[in-house]
């Protein structure tokens, strides 16, 4: 479960989040929609603890524990996962090495023994099968030469293997054609779980046709200015954000 309480944050001294409050219950999927510049990606980076994103007030908790004072890796180990809008390339490092390092870092933080190469491959294959992916992706260097769809699928694969409590999906639909979007959405749907909370950050309603959220929130000028059920996303698709943006100003 994710609780965000009156969160304020600045980037380069400029206030971007101005009192954002939101709770995503265990097993729920919430969507955050909003116009460009509303602070959607800032929210994702603030939660993940990226340098340069400074929290000036408020708090946020995962399963009742505040992660605010933790380093990015400690937040990850506490169960927070961010699916990047622009997944990063790491030349020379195979996807399987990268994922195994990540899994083992998290296992160590829980006092569990490392997975060896064979155990890891077994786990990865099992996850990939359940998501309908081939393990060819494991051998390639992390995101290097991946198509837009492959990069996003790779994010979902990491999510599947790391099994976080809270997954923040930043513009997972951006840069995907319809088929790729469906593939990714199917994988995300398969990863919905009773103890897992999803926060889907998106620009368009399109993704929410495939991953139907429990709640939809409108973010404008650093605050939640409206919330509703899945129908709210459709309304926005018709009428745009203008009314909400005006309300926020």
């Amino acid at each position: 479960m994710l609780e965000i309480r009156d969160l304020h944050a600045t980037v380069n001294g400029k206030a971007i989040l101005k009192g954002l409050t939101l709770t995503v219950g265990a097993g729920e999927v919430h969507a955050i929609m909003g116009p460009n510049g509303a602070g959607k990606s800032t929210l994702a980076y603030v939660l993940a603890g990226r340098d340069g994103y400074e929290v000036t007030g408020g708090d946020f908790l995962v399963d009742g524990r505040s992660l605010l004072d933790l380093a990015p890796e400690d937040r990850a180990q506490a169960g927070l996962f961010l699916a990047f809008q622009y997944p990063v390339e790491i030349p020379g490092v195979s996807n399987s090495t990268f994922l195994r390092e990540a899994v083992n870092a998290q296992r160590r933080s829980r006092g569990e023994p490392d997975l060896d190469a064979l155990q890891f491959i077994k786990l990865a294959r099992q996850k990939m099968n359940s998501l309908g992916m081939t393990d060819e992706m494991l051998k390639r260097p992390v995101n290097v030469g991946f198509s837009g769809g492959e990069k996003k699928r790779n994010e979902v694969l990491q999510l599947a293997i790391l099994e976080p409590k809270v997954a923040v999906m930043d513009e997972t639909d951006s840069g995907l054609d319809v088929d790729a979007l469906r593939t990714v959405a199917r994988a995300v749907n398969a990863l919905r779980a009773p103890k897992r909370s999803f926060l889907m950050i998106t620009h368009y309603e399109r993704l929410l046709e495939e991953i139907v959220p429990d709640r939809v929130h409108i973010l404008a000028d650093g605050r939640i200015v409206g919330s509703g059920g899945p129908e709210l996303a459709r309304e926005i698709e018709r009428t745009g954000y203008a009314a909400y943006a005006a309300a926020a100003a």
Partner: protein, 485 residues
């Protein structure tokens, strides 16, 4: 005795006087020669080793030539002038004070051993802890020596080879790196104390990586190491030098020479991991590693491949090179060099194409962090008769932080119109995006740095023999600890 500030002649007289006082020319029981360098010292070393006359003569020629040579000044490194008279040139293998257990060693060193995954008994030996007279590696070493003998491979200290195989040593010593080569190599020729000798007979594929199981012995080689490897027709040998464990030595100057000779259809693969003491975080202390390594592809279709991982030393000055004499011969140079804190490295290679259709490949990965300064310096020369010569050079630099430096100085001299010489170079910075991405997945900052840098070095790491590669990967991470954040 000479007064302070006395001229060079007085100092020399003083030394000569001392030498007589201790009588070290005749007293071969002496363990340590007095400080300083002189003809007497060279004679002493030769006598101590019971060397034949020709070798003493060669050493003395080197010594007298050395006196006339200027210091090499072209490398982009800076250090105060060396005082050659304030150093010892010979001491018998010392019995270091034995420690009772590993608990007595510097916890920092113990931590590094653990991170590298060095087996406990090797840790004890490296750290100078008293161990039982018979330990595993000695019996392992004996077993492997037997096997080498079966194949006719000679692998022994060069001082032993001088006694047992003088014809081979005399034929090849100084044939690749002449005693006149450069000031450091010339000094080595005059005063080298020991090193390794390898001879692989025609058609023999050496049945094991040499020196893997001799790591501990190798760790005790002195500051003027001399290595000579000869691969006879159609033979193959892979030689591993060095040690990933951090090594301390009170001798500041290390001037080693390595000579390789590959005859027709022979191949030598030479891999180095160098982790000498780099000095502290402020740049105090540390080894000056001034090494001359050169291989001659003398025969047709011969091949020499250098792979190096250089993470230690305060200053690294090193250009493992290939002279491609035989037609169709191949030279390779794969290098990872890391400079952190105040380390300086000026390293690269020379590929001298003399034969027809000779090929060379250079991949250099330089990583600079802290106040580290690093230069890739490489020469590709194609002689007029080297019809069809080809070279490909790839030279990548990675910068960590804003106070380090990376420099690339390629020299290309082509005297044959049919030659193809390609040079690619990149400089990049370790990106915040990459580090953040790794950390978001749960990796600690230092592990994220190690992962990204190991990826950057992958093309070179995969050239290393397996067991070396695993340790080298860990070493890359350890060398960069504290460089970010």
């Amino acid at each position: 005795m000479a007064a302070p500030g006395a001229g060079g002649t007085d100092v020399l007289n003083e030394l000569v006087g001392q030498s007589y006082k201790y009588g070290f020319v005749t007293d071969i029981e002496a363990d340590t020669a007095p400080k300083g360098l002189s003809e007497e010292i060279v004679r002493f070393i030769s006598a101590r080793k019971d060397e034949p006359e020709w070798l003493l003569t060669w050493r003395l020629k080197a010594y007298h030539h050395w006196l006339t040579m200027p210091e090499p000044t072209w490398a982009k490194v800076s250090f105060p002038p060396l005082d050659y008279q304030d150093a010892y040139y010979y001491s018998a293998p010392k019995n270091l004070p034995k420690l009772e257990s590993l608990d007595d060693i510097d916890p920092e060193i113990k931590r590094t051993y653990d991170k590298l995954g060095i087996p406990l008994h090797e840790q004890q030996i490296l750290a100078g802890v008293a161990v039982d007279a018979v330990f595993d590696s000695v019996s392992v070493a004996t077993t492997f020596k037997k096997k080498l003998e079966e194949y006719g491979v000679i692998f022994c200290p060069i001082s032993e080879a001088v006694q047992k195989h003088p014809e081979l040593v005399r034929k090849y010593l100084g044939s690749v790196v002449p005693y006149t080569d450069n000031k450091h190599a010339t000094l080595n020729s005059a005063v080298f104390t020991d090193g390794s000798f390898v001879y692989v007979p025609p058609g023999v594929r050496c049945p094991m990586e040499l020196s893997t199981y001799f790591r501990i012995n190798a760790a005790k080689t002195g500051q003027f190491e001399r290595t000579l490897i000869i691969a006879d027709r159609g033979s193959y040998v892979s030689y591993l030098e060095g040690c990933t464990a951090p090594m301390r030595d009170e001798n500041q100057l290390h001037a080693a020479v390595v000579e390789l000779v590959a005859l027709d259809d022979a191949e030598i693969k030479y891999s180095t991991v160098q982790n000498w003491y780099p000095g502290d975080e402020q740049g105090r202390g540390g080894i000056f590693n001034f090494v001359t390594k050169r291989g001659a592809c003398r025969g047709r279709n011969s091949k020499i491949s250098w792979t190096q991982v250089e993470t230690g030393s305060a200053i690294t000055w090193k250009y493992p090179s290939c002279i491609l004499q035989g037609d169709n011969s191949v030279g390779e140079f794969y290098s990872i060099a890391i400079t952190n804190n105040y380390q300086q490295a000026d390293t690269g290679t020379k590929m001298i194409h003399l034969g027809r259709n000779t090929r060379s490949r250079i991949i250099s990965k330089g990583i600079s962090a802290g106040h580290g300064q690093q230069t890739y310096r490489g020469l590709v020369r194609v002689a007029a008769r080297a019809e069809g010569a080809r070279n490909h050079t790839q030279c990548d630099s990675l910068l960590i932080g804003s106070t380090c430096g990376a420099h690339t100085v390629p020299y290309i001299e082509s005297h044959n119109r049919s030659a193809v010489v390609e040079h690619e170079a990149t400089t990049s910075r370790i990106s915040d995006d990459q580090l953040f991405y790794c950390r978001q997945r749960g990796l600690k900052l230092e592990d994220a740095v190690a992962l990204v840098v190991n990826g950057f070095c992958r093309d070179v790491l995969q050239q290393l023999p397996m067991e070396f590669a695993v340790e080298a990967q860990k070493l890359v991470g350890i060398s960069l600890e504290g460089s970010v954040g």
